[in-house]
Symmetry: C2
Subunit: 331 residues, 2 copies
């Protein structure tokens, strides 16, 4: 068998590849390990819950409306830590550069990483740089790993019937920003990536109530995230289409390109399941955050096993787990 | 300026590139950070010294005599943790795969990672997989980051005049194994990579005496490591050529190819500076380890600033910091 693009697209097909990785039997250091396929691992060390996560970034193009590969590299890892309830502390950075890569571009990327680190209150403490010959890599790849500390660990598998589903803002912005930019559409600033570290938003939400489950809807978008959350918890979800925040420009671009905004990556959003009684206070806390103004309660958790959307015209449709993200090299 | 191969070769030229990275001002989380350019960072969390390090691996070819990219990916990070005095606990794995990569090869690589994890007593707890289109990467790149715990933190800058320099075994094996294999020399099993996790060797040495400084002589080899250690500590080093362990086969291949075995990467060795009074007991501890049978005391630290080798024919030569590792994509 050969690796295909869809093996890296965050959807159902990726499961095939993850089976290969299951030959790693040394996969847990006493807490939450590789086998759980959550956003990160948790390792109890000296009475502290250390959260540990990693992400490699190969987004193309490396500069796009709203961000660049450096901002994604920091935000992606910060957000994975945050999804486990982890306050981000330290990041590593493994750079792979193609011979001939422009050093000015690299400087801009590193400055962008530094800005995102500042926003998140984290530091880049260790790194490694490799250079490969021309043709052996398309420009640059950045891996970041991160360490955080969680007072309360939150999982992606804790949805319970009756929970309300909250999204922290509009969906589909990142994926459609990458795709429209790549296709050369002149949309001005209408569609920009949402890439941002959202630990402070998550922290505010955690202080405002109990969160049963969270996940950041990156590759495969909201559709992949909500289906994975429902499957892991053995529950169903009912969503109301009218409540789902999607920008008009993103919706239009999606229609034009035949791309469902619910199936493409977001890089600064969170999907949460929270108890009904805490939903309004958590929503209010998220909305007070500059990155959470468009947050909304978009549905609830039910007994069952399907994710169903009540459409704006009164019908129903299944939100299926996508085979993968339709946008290659989205992050 | 454009990135050149030498920018990633671990030597003097790499310093130019590291200057660019200095725009990262959020570079320390309260312990030892990026600015120290040591083998890893140290972050004090809840009274524990968490060691954190990262390495990306692009070795070519991915399978070679004595190991493969998976064994290097685990060993390299375990050894960087060990160089800081860190007991390895948990690793992350960021895979980037080229479309079309053979899944059987991937499985073999993952099994190799698992074996090395078992040897080191560590676990792979979190991961990420990206796939890029054909032509955007030469096969596979693996990043590993690692977390360890150090009861005693050891730095690479602590050499003191009078210290003895110990190497844990023969030098140059990895670099010359890669190069001769790549050049298609049929040397049978004569030159094999030394790639291995050496935490248990380092642990035994630490229990046998005080270690003032350690470093693993990877890219740029022993020559780069010893010069960096001397420069950071503001001392000189005098070495005895007759005491330096180099396999005859490695020496011959080096002569043939015009490559100095002291300037190429090792992947399972450590260079230490230890007080004279502890040198014999530490050497004995290292030699008791299966990977330390060829360990030797090869010189001593002196006042001054040069690394000088007393040659076997009674002369002297400077061991200069190499411009870089002469073997590209060595790890």
């Amino acid at each position: 068998m050969k690796v295909q693009m869809m093996h890296g697209a965050g959807g159902e097909v990726m499961g095939e590849l993850l089976k290969v990785l299951s030959c790693v039997t040394h996969n847990n250091a006493g807490g939450i390990g590789l086998e759980s396929l959550d956003d990160g691992a948790v390792i109890p060390i000296g009475g502290t819950n250390i959260v540990f996560t990693t992400d490699s970034h190969v987004v193309h193009p490396i500069f796009f409306p709203g961000g660049d590969i450096g901002r994604i590299a920091v935000s992606g890892t910060i957000n994975d830590l945050a999804m486990m309830g982890g306050r981000p502390i330290a990041l590593s950075c493994g750079l792979i550069l193609e011979e001939g890569f422009d050093v000015g571009d690299l400087e801009q990327i590193m400055q962008s990483m530094n800005t995102a680190l500042g926003e998140a209150g984290a530091s880049l403490v260790t790194g490694d740089t490799k250079v490969v010959e021309k043709g052996a890599l398309d420009g640059i790849a950045i891996n970041t790993a991160g360490i955080g500390v969680a007072e309360t660990v939150v999982r992606d598998n804790g949805l319970m019937p009756g929970d309300r589903i909250i999204v922290s803002g509009t969906l589909g912005d990142h994926g459609l920003a990458i795709l429209t930019h790549r296709e050369g559409f002149d949309l001005g600033d209408q569609i920009r990536s949402d890439v941002a570290p959202i630990w402070s938003l998550v922290k505010g939400a955690m202080a405002a109530g109990t969160i049963h489950a969270m996940k950041d809807p990156t590759r495969g978008g909201f559709a992949a995230a909500i289906n994975e959350m429902a499957r892991k918890a053995g529950v169903g979800v009912r969503l109301e289409e009218v409540a789902v925040p999607i920008r008009a420009s993103v919706r239009s671009a999606g229609s034009l390109l035949g791309i469902d905004p619910l199936e493409v990556a977001n890089e600064g959003k969170v999907v949460m399941g929270v108890p009904e009684e805490d939903a309004e206070s958590i929503l209010a806390a998220i909305r007070r955050h500059p990155l959470g103004k468009d947050a909304a309660i978009i549905g609830k958790v039910v007994e069952g096993s399907s994710v169903i959307m009540e459409t704006s015209i009164g019908g129903e449709r299944f939100i299926e787990p996508p085979m993968g993200d339709p946008v290659p090299r989205v992050c």
